[in-house]
């Protein structure tokens, strides 16, 4: 029994020595980096709006909280509703969005009829164009994800296409019952 204890104690010394050696090893020689290693960054760096001084915990400005993060960084100038543009937007909506969004019922995602009353035009476009970052950072978008659980997909619309979908939302809101 006694002998075993003794061996334990000695083993502990051994372990400590070994750990010490490792610490030294890592601290002393672990900094080596091969400069010939080609690293190609795989993350596209996200554009960050810096026009406003105040930021939230995620580093968003008030503008970004209200209007979203993405390629739309300024207030959109919306004229009277362009029906032709809205019709183009309907086509895109039916093909790329309607599998998950209906106008008047909750489906995979929220109903869209009154979207234009709930969100700013800039927010809507940023959500279409940059959903991954929106869901990660924007507090409003994060709330929606927590409620609906299915992350909105990036359907790779161009800015012009997203603009036409926005026009469609403006139009359908008018036809509200």
């Amino acid at each position: 029994m006694k002998e075993r204890k003794n061996i334990k104690a000695v083993s502990a010394v051994f372990v400590i020595f070994t750990i010490a050696a490792f610490v030294f090893f890592i601290g002393g020689c672990g900094e080596k980096k091969d400069s010939s290693q080609t690293e190609i960054s795989q993350q596209q760096s996200a554009d960050v709006n810096t026009s406003s001084a105040t930021t939230d915990a995620a580093g968003l400005t008030d503008w970004q909280i209200k209007h979203g993060i993405g390629p739309i960084k300024e207030e959109l100038k919306l004229g009277p509703i362009d029906k032709k543009l809205a019709f183009k937007g309907k086509n895109i909506f039916d093909s790329k969005c309607a599998a998950c969004h209906k106008l008047d019922e909750r489906y995979v995602g929220p109903a869209q009829r009154d979207l234009i009353e709930r969100r700013s035009p800039e927010y809507i476009m940023n959500m279409i164009l940059n959903p991954a970052e929106m869901l990660e950072k924007n507090p409003e978008a994060k709330k929606m994800l927590a409620e609906y659980m299915t992350p909105m997909t990036n359907q790779n619309l161009t800015i012009d296409e997203a603009r036409s979908v926005l026009e469609y939302f403006r139009l359908v809101d008018l036809a509200k019952k």
């Binding site: 000695v10 002393g28 093909s95 599998a99």
Partner: protein, 653 residues
């Protein structure tokens, strides 16, 4: 006493360990697997990319694998000559035409040599070609989406081994016959070999705009075994070189009977002149049958084009088109150096590596320094074309690649090594063992005018004790060497699929400029595509039922289908509406006898399903797609043949 001793011993041991660790840590690992700083050189940190794409032949798997260098990580296995139920390649209605041949539907293949397309003698990243040996074919893979775009059959060919090596601007890829056969095929005694058996060397034209391949002409050659090829470059741009063995014309026990002569040949073909002869109508138009299968880029559907004629040139009618360079002894590989002057042969039974000189060959032709003429092909004098011989290259030299700095690297199969030697002096300057028995080797761009260099990969046939054993069948293997210094340094072993006959590598930066992340749904011209979930439908036409279905995370539309009857042919046309990168969906249905589907974003794929008994059959997404992937499922109700259940369908109702 004893205790104290033990204590001392243990403390001493700990001290020793510490010392050893410090030594290993700071002195760098010594000759464990690779050498010196090997671990750092092959370590590609999580989230970072490899420097090179390497395309490794899948050998008898019939496929082409994509690895990263220097890490040796496997990214993708591209289905080429063999069906692949993982994606539905060769099973789905859109892809099955790819495997059509004049011998019927051939679901497998023996892939050998990947070859990147070139512009001005340098890999350009547009396409990669690979040959199939057994049912003679060449495939073209589009490097925008890493998918097989075309497979063309080679007529009048058996054993398409010397293929698909490219000319300097991919004007042509070549195809020479390993097995001579009666041409055209006919029923003759095998013993009539010397009279009836011939070989062919084919030139397959590549359309520079879209890559489409077309067998431009074939050269009829004596019935030897044509083995490998290499096109000229720079001054030798107009020429291509083909090794052959079995000039003895043996048809049995070749290992003895085809090894009798001291020298066989390298055939030098002036393809520019052959092209001219073909245009002038010197060739005979011969009736034959072969298939060209290609994917329509608009619809994504493969079509088979049956071809019935090919132009054949006879050297007897075409002076100056082809010469034989005597080469010891049963030469296997042939490789033209970056300057285009040296033609290096790997005589697998030879004790030297003979190197022919292109300029000496031209003057020998001019001065008619011929030994003899065989079937209209002048045989040049060995000494008149020889630039030099590399002495002591190891046993069984096979293949050579170049580093662009004046050195050549040759594999020696029997002595299991890579030998580095200098062009011009023919002196061996370094050698390194491989584990074991290397066939080809590959240096990125090492067969081109401007090798990218830096690494060398030996492609080993035997692994024996190198990896954890997996029963009688062991993995194949690649070994990565650092060739940036004077001495080769072994960095890494990594397993490969099938037999890694040959490989090609290209800087990642070249391919990453062009690759596609999705197929644009707007451009999907598949007639069975639907582009809106609201267009999803089920249509009965007699016994055929067509289900036009969409997928998006995380549901199918329709996902409840009734009215299918036993005996129906049910076609599921599944369009993936996703338009984001890395969002494929799978489609699997219970009892499917053929395959599942993997549908890329924006793509349409069709599976035929024949339910045999009444019941309710679940289907689901087989590729994990989202948090609600497990919910991505549906049901098909199958009723008896005579039932009155009408077609009905829907989602969410």
């Amino acid at each position: 006493m004893e205790k104290v001793k033990r204590k001392k011993i243990i403390i001493a041991l700990a001290g020793l360990m510490t010392g050893a660790l410090l030594y290993i840590g700071c002195q760098e690992t010594k000759e464990v697997a690779g050498t010196g700083d090997a671990p750092q050189k092959v370590y590609v940190a999580p989230g970072t990319y490899d420097e090179f794409y390497a395309f490794m032949s899948g050998g008898f798997s019939g496929q082409l694998s994509v690895y990263g260098l220097p890490s040796g990580r496997l990214f993708k296995v591209i289905p080429v000559f063999s069906q692949n139920p993982e994606t539905g390649y060769g099973y789905s209605e859109e892809t099955k035409a790819m495997l059509q041949t004049s011998y019927g539907f051939v679901p497998w293949g023996d892939a050998h040599h990947p070859e990147l397309s070139q512009t001005d003698g340098v890999p350009d990243g547009r396409w990669i070609f690979i040959n199939e040996n057994n049912t003679p074919r060449i495939a073209r893979i589009d490097l925008k989406d890493f998918e097989t775009a075309e497979i063309i059959e080679i007529p009048n060919s058996a054993g398409n081994h010397g293929s698909p090596f490219t000319t300097e601007n991919s004007e042509y890829v070549v195809a020479s016959t390993r097995f001579s056969v009666p041409i055209p095929e006919k029923d003759v005694p095998i013993a009539s070999y010397k009279n009836d058996f011939k070989g062919t060397i084919s030139f397959v034209k590549v359309d520079p705009k879209n890559g489409n391949m077309n067998v431009a002409f074939q050269i009829l050659v004596p019935g030897y075994d044509y083995d490998l090829a290499s096109a000229g470059k720079g001054p030798s741009h107009d020429w291509a070189f083909f090794t052959c063995y079995n000039s003895e014309e043996a048809h049995t026990l070749l290992e003895i009977n085809a090894s009798r002569k001291d020298k066989d040949f390298i055939a030098a073909v002036n393809w520019k002149l052959a092209e001219k002869y073909a245009a002038e109508g010197k060739g005979k138009t011969v009736k034959t049958l072969y298939y060209d299968n290609f994917v329509d880029p608009k619809t994504g559907i493969a079509h088979s084009d049956k071809r019935t004629e090919v132009k054949v040139l006879d050297p007897k009618d075409c002076p100056g088109m082809i010469y034989y360079l005597p080469t010891p002894k049963s030469p296997h590989g042939v490789n033209v150096d970056p300057s285009g002057e040296y033609i290096v042969a790997g005589g697998k039974l030879s004790t030297v590596i003979p190197v022919h000189s292109f300029s000496k060959m031209l003057s020998a032709i001019k001065n008619k320094q011929f030994d003899t003429t065989i079937d209209g092909i002048p045989v040049l004098k060995y000494d008149a074309v020889l630039a030099g011989e590399v002495k002591n290259p190891g046993l069984g030299p096979l293949h050579t690649e170049f580093d662009g700095k004046g050195y050549a690297y040759t594999t020696s199969f029997i002595s299991s090594e890579v030998v580095k030697w200098q062009l011009g002096t023919w002196k061996v300057v370094d050698r390194h063992p491989t584990y074991y028995s290397p066939g080809h080797l590959m240096i990125p761009g090492g067969d081109s005018k401007k090798p990218f260099g830096k690494y060398l990969v030996a492609l080993n046939k035997i692994t024996k004790d190198r990896y954890l054993p997996t029963g009688p069948e062991l993995c194949q293997s690649a070994q990565l060497f650092d060739i940036s210094g004077d001495k080769m340094k072994l960095l890494l072993d990594f397993p490969t699929i099938g037999e890694p006959h040959y490989a090609q590598a290209i800087p990642a930066s070249i391919l990453m400029k062009n690759f596609e992340k999705i197929y644009r749904i707007e451009d999907n011209a598949n007639p069975d595509a639907i582009k809106k979930e609201m267009d999803a439908k089920v249509v009965r036409k007699g016994n055929d039922v067509h289900v036009y279905m969409t997928t998006i995370r995380s549901h199918f539309a329709p996902d409840n289908i009734e009215g299918i009857k036993v005996g129906d042919n049910v076609y599921f046309h599944v369009t993936n509406l996703e338009q984001d990168w890395d969002t494929p969906h799978g489609f699997a249905i219970k009892g499917a006898e053929n395959t599942e589907l993997l549908i890329m974003p924006g793509q349409t794929r069709t599976i035929l399903w024949k339910p045999l008994t009444a019941g309710v059959y679940p289907f689901y997404c087989s590729d994990f797609c989202s948090a609600l992937h497990q919910e991505m499922q549906g049901y098909v109700r199958v009723s008896d043949k005579n039932s009155n259940v009408k077609i009905s369908y829907g989602t969410g109702k």
